[in-house]
């Protein structure tokens, strides 16, 4: 089974921190993470966001002057092996 999540990248770490603050204030469930390797060879900070809220989140960024670089859709392979599945079932 494949699942998807979206990753938003920024031009600076500072903007990713403002992003986290502003969106948490508005009750969004987002999480900061390192930029996924398949997206870029840079080593900045990105945010994991739900894909369906993408447009809402981008408009909040515009409102708050948070410079968004790109939004990527990432395929999340279900890599759990039988043991992990057993544990989480």
């Amino acid at each position: 089974m494949t699942e998807y999540y979206c990753v938003m990248t920024f031009h600076s770490t500072h903007h990713s921190l403002i992003f986290e603050k502003e969106l948490k204030k508005r009750g969004f469930k987002i999480k900061l993470m390192p930029v996924p390797r398949q997206v870029s060879s840079s080593c900045g900070t990105a945010a994991k966001i739900p894909c369906n809220l993408r447009d809402d989140i981008i408009s909040i960024c515009n409102e708050e002057n948070i410079e968004v670089d790109e939004v990527h859709k990432i395929e999340q392979k279900n890599t759990k092996n039988w043991f992990e599945r057993f544990l989480s079932s």
Binding site: T13, L32, N65, T79
Partner: protein, 367 residues
């Protein structure tokens, strides 16, 4: 899980080669040291005349060319730049001042730890402190700015410089200096150094391993990925040392190779390194890989390392096993003050700009 093995493997490769390169001729506890190697290259070019630390270390050229080749193959080579080049130059300059007072970049700090040098524990405490201070500045608004695309040829700077340096190494013209004694005279065979450099450079391009990023990501976003790489360096270097160089292994403060026990200055030197590394977005090792991928700002940072190394030795700031000279202490304090000052002013300016552009959009206008 797969990713975790990959990053531990990448760190392990550095750790093992760190031990192997000592075994085949590099100075003890200095199988790989990015700051020291730039310092040696600076000396070989005659930009400083400390006769004991002059050699064109092929490991550096290996890092660059290994990362360049892989980045090219994977289509990740991207000429870019223009994000505060001058500020980066000064940060690079002062990073080296801190590193040469501690006697090592963060990578050598880990290799020293893995060989029982407890002075590196003091350095590590300073490094983490510097990183925490740097993160505070990221939080209040410090940013080094965004980079834009650059002409292709600019992106090739570092690979071309590396090839020229390799040519100098092979034909050894009379204007290149080679140490006859001291750490600069302890050298692994060129082919070993270059092969290790190429392998490590390529691996680091894939994994983005960074000694500053490891700690930054834990503190900032509670992500342990890069830290596993650092643990890999430590463990494999420890194993490598115990197998290949058991006579050099010794736990303690005194009598450690190319090290001193002035705790305050080991600590403050690495505070300066940690602070500048976080503000620059990467330690010297990572800057080298970025430069190879076409990041011209990282090249400027490396020019900062080279200028810094030249001044450190010309002004007699560098520490030695005898200790830290008075001038070196003053330089570290000045470095910390200057870097904090720059970071503070950039952060304040960004706060002001953000406020102004918000008001211009009609966000919070108070009449």
């Amino acid at each position: 899980m797969k990713n975790k093995f990959k990053i531990i493997f990448a760190g392990g490769l550095i750790g093992i080669f760190g031990a192997v390169l000592v075994f085949v001729g590099n100075p003890v506890n200095m199988g790989i040291c990015v700051a020291c190697f730039y310092r040696d290259i600076t000396g070989a070019l005659g930009l400083h005349r400390a006769s004991v630390v002059q050699y064109l270390r092929p490991e550096i050229m290996g890092f660059v060319l290994g990362a360049f080749i892989i980045a090219k193959l994977k289509k990740e080579f991207k000429p870019r730049g223009g994000s505060s080049p001058l500020i980066r130059f000064f940060f690079g300059f002062f990073l080296i001042v801190g590193a040469l007072v501690f006697l090592g970049c963060p990578l050598r700090m880990i290799l020293r730890l893995a060989n029982g040098d407890l002075n590196a524990v003091v350095g590590l405490a300073g490094y983490i402190t510097g990183i925490i201070i740097g993160i505070r500045f990221l939080k209040i608004g410090f940013t080094i700015g965004r980079s834009v695309n650059q002409p292709k040829i600019a992106g090739y700077s570092m690979p071309i410089i590396s090839i020229v340096l390799l040519i100098f190494l092979f034909i050894a013209p009379s204007f290149i200096f080679f140490s006859e004694s001291g750490p600069g005279s302890y050298t692994a065979p060129i082919i070993w150094s270059l092969a290790a450099g190429l392998l490590i450079g390529g691996t680091l391009q894939r994994t983005r391993l960074c000694t500053a990023g490891g700690f930054r990501d834990i503190i900032l976003i509670k992500d342990f990925h890069l830290m596993w790489g650092l643990i890999g360096i430590f463990i494999f270097s420890l194993i490598g040392n115990l197998i290949l160089n058991p006579d050099n292994f010794m736990i303690g403060f005194s009598g450690q190779p190319i090290a001193h026990s002035e705790h305050i200055w080991n600590f403050l030197g690495m505070v300066l390194v940690g602070l500048t590394a976080v503000l620059l977005g990467g330690c010297p090792l990572r800057q080298t890989i970025l430069a190879a991928e076409g990041d011209t700002d990282a090249v400027i940072t490396i020019f900062g390392f080279i200028a810094g190394s030249a001044f450190v030795h010309n002004f007699g700031l560098a520490a030695s096993p005898k200790g830290v000279p008075q001038n070196g202490k003053i330089a570290v304090v000045i470095g910390i003050i200057v870097v904090l000052g720059i970071a503070f002013m950039v952060a304040k300016e960004n706060q002001r700009k953000r406020k102004l552009s918000k008001e211009a959009k009609g966000g919070k206008v108070s009449v």
